[in-house]
């Protein structure tokens, strides 16, 4: 369980960095910059990964509960 927590923490940490820097890039880019879409994809993928992670940890939690029942 503790290993899971550390994994979850570190993973979210990395994804947070990706999202944070993507946002910074986007803010510094003019509206018409052709690379905006690409950076947006990076950010969206990282956000998707965080959502996946949340689902994974919930499923894990349910499984642990099921085991102890």
């Amino acid at each position: 369980m503790n290993d899971d927590r550390i994994f979850l923490h570190d993973m979210k940490n990395m994804l947070g960095i990706i999202i944070g820097f993507s946002n910074l890039l986007l803010e510094g880019m003019p509206e018409e910059d052709p690379h905006r879409g690409d950076v947006d994809e990076i950010r969206l993928a990282a956000e998707g990964a965080i959502a996946l992670l949340a689902r994974w940890s919930q499923a894990n939690l349910d499984r642990v509960k099921g085991d102890t029942r």
Partner: protein
Amino acid sequence: MSPLEHQTVTELPRATSLGKVLVVDDVSANVDLLNTLLSREGYTVLTASDGQQALEIVAREHPDLVLMDVMMPKLNGFGVCEQIKQNKATRLTPVVLITALCKREDRIQGINAGADDFLIKPINIHELTARARSLIRLKRYTDDLDTAESVIVSLALVIEARDAYTDGHCNRLADYATALGSALGLGNEDVAALYRGGYLHDVGKVGIPDAVLLKSGRLTQEEYKAIQQHPVIGDRLCGELRSLRRVRPIVRHHHERLDGTGYPDRLTGDDIPLLAQIMGIVDVYDAITTERPYKPAVRSDRAFEELMDEVKQGWRRRDLVEEFIRLMQLTRRPAIDTP
């Protein structure tokens, strides 16, 4: 003048920094990210990559705020926070713990370590700067209080810390109340009283046992009576302090209602001091929009409806509530990471 010259004129460095923020994280990319965000907003940023280094910098540089990751090798964020808060010279330095997990136990451990606030990764820049701004403001405020008043303010923050659910409540109330007061055109002294009132309104809860204050089930009539004593106790605590003269009516009357069904003095209509009415409105709003042991958090539009219901019931002044709603809708900023 060439465009270049013009640029150097407009981009003169800011004369004063908004404050000194120490960022602590063992992952250097995180430090870089926060450093970039905060420098851009006008803060002076110091950085540390582990707990020991953080403690040294706090002692030497007296930052206005510490933003710290919880999970770090060796000395973790909780440990560092505890040491900052146990040292007399640094205990008033606000500490915000940053965690990638939003587990309730983490928050409780953080509150026990004396943390002033929490942020959850991935960090939202608006949330970050809002917290930084209000905590630094609070620090400046406590920096120049007389000792007696600062004791009462710390007392108020201790009460807030007793209940994990009211975490940040004082801070938000001070913000909402001063915003509403300024929008209504109140004078500086009144707005300042609202600010202090935000922190002190519930100070009387020190006199109420945990078993009652934190109870999640239904309250017995006696317990309810005990809770209703908190404005009276708070008023007495502020006692003879000259600096709190304008704050006392807020503390005593923030639970009164226009129709006389409030407490402790069952005042009606205009007999309820205006500043206390303002505090009452923002207190209700914050209570509704925050998660509590007996209910989940509610969206702000639902809270606006409930406030308007209270107007219809004759509890609150319509003009004040409408102004507050207008203000909240105006200042509500979209999160930066919404597509």
